[in-house]
Amino acid sequence: MSAVLAVCEQRDGVLRKVAREVVTGARRLADGLGATVDALVPGSGPVEGSAELGRFGADRVVTVTAGAFARYAPEALGQAIAERARSGGYRAVVFAATATGKDLAPRVAARLGAALAQEVTDVVVEDGAVIVTRPVYAGKALLKLRLRSEPALVSLRPNVFTPVERPRAGTAETVALDLPVGRVVTREIKAPEAGALDVGEAPIVISGGRGLKDPANFRLLEELAAAFGGKAAVGASRAVVDAGWRPHADQVGQTGKTVSPSLYIAVGISGAIQHLAGMRTSKVIVAINQDKDAPIFKVADYGIVGDLFQIVPRLTEEIRKLHG
């Protein structure tokens, strides 16, 4: 029986949540192909959370251990995945379109001479072929593509493939590899603040624009984010990133991140076309803006017109009540 390989990510020995999405996407492909799902979990030892992957549709959970895998080792990992993909006869290899996945997948694709579709938002199997949909021009258009290589490589945009419980055996296996780390070595990971969520992965994103008038006023958005109890991240428009108010990592838009949270709150953002491109796939969009004619209201599900300096603190208060 053929199989689909789901490449999972861990950090500090703990499986990252996005792995559930990868297994969910792989399961969907496997069902269409009449195949099984192997979840591949690289680590320097046992990875906490990998046992749950059976619940999301993994038939086998293969922990691949190597000293090199303590931190992201692109060369060793690329080699290990390519070798497994080649010898295992996989029909498809599924990655997460995270910073790591987007770096890793092309390396594997080049080693295998296989086609890769990055940042896909939908996968289906039609007539035995893997068909994907992916946004191009920052979401201003969608491209439907057929992958003709075997294996077909795809990376899934985070937050799009909602994990679905599809219990399978999830038989645990461990394969120990002896691999040199390679030439490219991750020396350390600098974490900005404990528990800070990434804009690209947070279920709730609250973004601020020029309407906030001063970088210090982003405090209002941070307080609102905190009221959501660790589920929200603060994003920014290109204007305020270019002005140096916020780091580039927080930028939402065509030259920043494309996000699909379940709730996106745009505060003091007029809604330039390149910003809309980065957030239009959010499930629910709320806009708070002084100008009732701002283009952001055209894509928003709910809008409040008025002074954000009064509206945002009130919203924070109401959300706190809800979570209090």
């Binding site: 995270t98 080693r111 600098k190």
Partner: protein, 250 residues
Amino acid sequence: MKIAVCIKRVPDTETRVKVGPDGKTLDESGAKFILNPYDEFAVEEALRRKEQAGAGEVVVLSLGPAATQETIRTALAMGADRGILLQTDRVPADGLEVARVLAGELRDGGWDLVFFGKMAIDDYNHQVGPMVAELLGLACVTAVTHLEIADGKGIAQREIEGGIEVVEFPLPAVLTADKGLNEPRYPALKGIMAAKKKPLEVKPVTPGAGGLEVLAMTPPAERPAGKIVGEGPDAVPTLVRLLREEAKVL
């Protein structure tokens, strides 16, 4: 320091995207084309590395139609020394085919560094740089936001979810540039004039079709019209109720 920069001609970010009559590609009429913004960081970084080394050459490469000459001239106006256009009217959807053509041109070039932008803002493929590195057997770091190079070694920083990775690598290497790496210079008038006289070699190429077949390009689903809940802070309780009861996101 011998440095190559691979760049791409892309539609401007303000372009309103219209699907062409074939239903598979962009209708380019009326679109304004620019140097891919991430490639500007790549060009800038290459120029700085050459300036830092005090000697060397920055060569700009691009795969694309004849009009890409303009895009290459933009990079030459910024200060690159010469350009090579790998000319084709058919840029394949499969990044690996693009990487194969570029790698073929770069192979045995004696490059110390090969720069790319981390992605092109048109197709979001996010793959050609690391693929070229693999094909050439070079070390590679993608989405670099900070870079230090000394004694044949480099230290790069790249943003990951909720952190920054600090990565060490040897030269020669392929690096892809992210926003934040530097502040690209604007071409000065003098540079624009000089760029007209810089060498730009045009080589016809025929990329393979690759393993990605475009079936359709469609506009994204329109979001249904939303509603203005109200004005000012008094509208907040209604908003929260709608988010809970109607949208069910709280």
